[in-house]
Amino acid sequence: MSHSAYGIPITWFLTLGAMLFCIGLFGMMVRRSAIGMLLSVELMLNAANINFIAFGSYLKLPTIAGQIFAIFVITLAAAEAAVGLAIVINIYRLEQHVDVDKMTAMKL
């Protein structure tokens, strides 16, 4: 692949992002505890951030739109984490466990 301005081509960043995304996704599917799933969500969001920043800077005429988007995403990730933890704590107070597999009161 051609030698790019920053020494390493953009594909490395994209693959890193993709790997992080897949780990997060896998984490969501496999983790038993809600907290674990929260972590995986954070992972996925950060993977998207990496993409944004990489694309933003590697364009022929680089724009900062990517970074702006990344900043927004970070703030929202924080808010999401807060709300998520609030709900998880509430569940823990009721059932003394946060094991998602056991929470099947409503099904089918």
């Binding site: 692949m1 051609s2 790019s4 301005a5 920053y6 081509p9 953009i10 594909t11 996704l25 969501m28 599917m29 496999v30 983790r31 799933m37 590697y58 364009l59 022929k60 998602v100 597999d101 929470m103 099947t104 009161a105 409503m106 099904k107 089918l108």
Partner: protein, 683 residues
């Protein structure tokens, strides 16, 4: 008076309404109102007849007076309907009104004390009205409507005592069998209407004028006129109880005897003959002549066939019923062999003496309380009036010449048969012999010898029943003088009814027939009658010839004849059971195949599918199925089952769906090695 001829049928209808609504309260609880109406009609008919035959009206209206009103619009043209007076209808008017009024007077005595007395007279008036409308109708549909109404009233009157199951069944049988015939009649009407474009008989646009349009070769190589003729004849067969639709008449004897006298002897059954006579131009226009052939042979066969059965009957009314069937066969036979005038003349005379016979048998039953002639005997002395009137009518029926009316008309028929169709002539003579044989068997069994059952103390009927008997007996003798070979008034007036064209056709069909007294025919007719009487006397009056000795050789024949050739049983086995089986089969098909299998099946399947899922998910919740087994099983089957309640599973399904979608989307582009430009795109 001719212009007001439409009043004749209207009066009985009004009487019907009055008696039905205010029966109990009317004078003589309904009887006098009905009789007044029918007598008024009789008077008007006589006036019309007088004006028509003697007053020169027939000449004034050159043989036909027809008035119509608008009835039914079809597209641009309008079908109209009305009444017409000509010689044929006047004759029938006379017959119907005379017999009807006499029978109604007779019924006062016979039906005395019946719980539904007024309703009987209401039905009687309705019958008279329907019959009179039929006779003067000039539109085929009006004829059909009155034809069916006549059938309805016979149904009501036969089933008058409907508490008796046998009467009820007889009524239904009568209506259905005649209905089968009527369907043929209806088909005939439709064919005629479509081909000639009109339903009115007379007038230049009428049916009779453009019958030529019908004379085109239709299916089975027959001209349409023949087919139309045959279809109309179906109606006649049904109504006039010809073979094979004759089964209903003997059972119709379940009704009160005056009813049998009026309807099943004189008027209604004659309607079939009247229909063929009225539509005679259709038969004459038939180039192949097939229709008339069929009419002749059916008539002849019925005449002989019914007469033979008459011999073996033991119920007085059934004997007379079969004799009616046989005499109707005679009339139809005569029409078949171009004996147009003879047929109508026989109908004219037959009405009187047969009505008299039935009323006579009515008074016998009224007196003795039984209908089985084996229990009667020796009534000669106890019921002299009934005996003499019965004897006169029997002689008239057997066709004794010079003295009785029946003689003249039967001799006339045989004369025509002699001229045109010898086979029919032979059958006629044999018929005459058998008729005389069974009639005198009846007379000897009922009136001669000693009373077989001793507890019967027969008494003469009251005068109100005897007066009609005497009048009818008088007519049975003198009605014949209208049509004697020398001064045939009947023929002079009836033939022009056909209209000049068909009159000519009839003329050349009967060309060369000797119009006077025909010695050979006379000898044969009277000879066979006298032989019949002689045979009856030597068997039943003075038992020279023991009937029992004949038993071994003729036993089976007697058995066969006794059971009316098992016709009823055959019908029962084939048609009626077949119909019921078809009905059951159709219902089973409807219930199981269509309703259950298809409709409920579809409904059931969807219910089944959803219930299956319901059951499936209940079992899963309780059972701890391991994850791997669960994933492979569920993704395959129930969608609902996907909703497991566990968050991870949801996300798993989301991801798998996403993967599938992305692959599907990219599939289109893989071959274009789409990925390479990304690197080039960026620095």
């Amino acid at each position: 008076m001719i212009e007001h001829a439409w009043l004749i049928p209207l009066l009985p209808v009004i009487a019907f309404g009055l008696v039905l609504l205010f029966g109990r309260k009317a004078p003589g609880n309904g009887a006098y109102v009905a009789i007044a109406a029918i007598c008024a009609s009789l008077a008007m008919s006589l006036a019309v007849a007088f004006q028509w035959f003697l007053g020169g009206a027939s000449a004034a209206h050159n043989g036909l007076y027809s008035v119509t009103i608008q009835w039914m619009p079809v597209g641009s043209q309008m079908i109209d309907m009305g009444f017409s007076i000509d010689a044929l209808s006047v004759v029938m008017l006379l017959v119907v009104t005379i017999v009807a009024s006499l029978v109604q007077i007779y019924s006062i005595g016979y039906m005395h004390g019946d719980p539904r007395y007024p309703r009987y007279f209401a039905y009687h008036s309705l019958f008279a009205a329907a019959m009179l409308t039929l006779v003067i109708a000039n539109n085929v549909v009006l004829m059909f409507m009155s034809w069916e109404l006549v059938g309805l009233t016979s149904y009501l009157l036969i089933g008058f005592w409907f508490e008796r199951p046998s009467a009820m069944r007889a009524a239904k049988k009568a209506f259905l069998v005649t209905r089968v015939g009527d369907v043929g009649f209806l088909a005939g009407i439709i064919l005629i209407y479509l081909k000639t474009g009109s339903l009115n008989l007379f007038g230049d646009a009428g049916v009779f004028e453009n019958l030529t349009r019908l004379d085109v070769i239709g299916p089975w190589g027959l001209p349409l006129t023949a087919i139309a003729g045959l279809l109309l004849f179906c109606g006649a067969v049904g109504k006039s109880a010809q073979f094979p639709l004759h089964v209903w008449l003997p059972d119709a004897m379940e009704g009160p005897t005056p009813v049998s006298a009026l309807i099943h002897a004189a008027t209604m059954v004659a309607a079939g003959v009247y229909l063929v006579a009225r539509m005679y131009p259709v038969y004459l226009a038939d180039s192949s002549g097939m229709a008339l052939q069929v009419v002749a042979y059916v008539g002849a066969f019925t005449a002989l066939f019914a007469a033979t059965i008459g011999i073996a009957q033991n119920d007085i009314k059934r004997v007379l019923a079969y004799s009616t069937v046989s005499q109707l066969g005679y009339m139809i036979m005569s029409l078949g062999v171009f004996g147009y005038v003879a047929g109508m003349f026989h109908l004219f005379t037959h009405a009187f003496f047969k009505a008299n016979l039935f009323l006579g048998s009515g008074s016998v039953i009224h007196g003795t309380g039984t209908q089985d002639i084996r229990e009667m005997g020796g009534l000669k002395k106890k019921m002299p009036w009934t005996y003499w009137t019965f004897l006169i009518s029997t002689l008239s029926l057997c066709g004794i010449p010079f003295v009785t009316a029946g003689g003249w008309s039967k001799e006339e028929i045989l004369a025509v048969a002699w001229h045109t169709n010898r086979v029919v002539f032979v059958v006629g003579v044999l018929g005459a012999f058998t008729t005389a044989f069974y009639m005198f068997r009846l007379v000897y069994k009922t009136f001669y010898g000693e009373p077989r059952k001793h507890d019967i103390h027969a008494h003469e009927s009251p005068r109100v029943m005897l007066v009609p008997l005497v009048i009818l007996a008088f007519l049975a003798i003198f009605a014949g003088y209208v049509g004697t070979p020398w001064a045939n008034v009947f023929e002079r007036n009836l033939v022009p009814v056909l209209g000049h064209h068909y009159e000519q056709v009839l003329e050349n069909k009967l060309a060369g027939m000797h119009h006077g007294f025909n010695l050979t025919v006379f000898l044969f007719a009277t000879g066979s009658a006298l032989l019949g009487i002689f045979m009856a006397t030597i068997i039943w009056l003075k038992p020279v010839l023991r009937i029992e000795k004949l038993e071994p050789s003729f036993g089976w024949l007697a058995k066969l004849v006794e059971n009316k050739y098992y016709i009823d049983e055959i019908y029962q086995a084939t048609i009626i059971r077949g119909l019921m089986a078809a009905a059951w089969l159709a219902f089973a098909f409807d219930k199981w195949v269509i309703d259950y299998a298809i409709v409920n099946g579809v409904g059931y399947l969807t219910r089944l599918a959803s219930d299956l899922w319901g059951w499936f998910d209940r079992t899963f919740v309780d059972g701890l199925v391991n994850i791997i087994g669960w994933i492979t099983k569920t993704t395959g089957s129930a969608l609902r089952y996907l909703q497991t309640g566990v968050a991870q599973h949801y996300i798993f399904l989301l991801v798998s769906a996403l993967v599938v979608i992305s692959l599907a989307v990219i599939a289109g582009h893989i071959r274009e090695e789409a990925w390479i430009p990304i690197a080039g795109f960026y620095r």
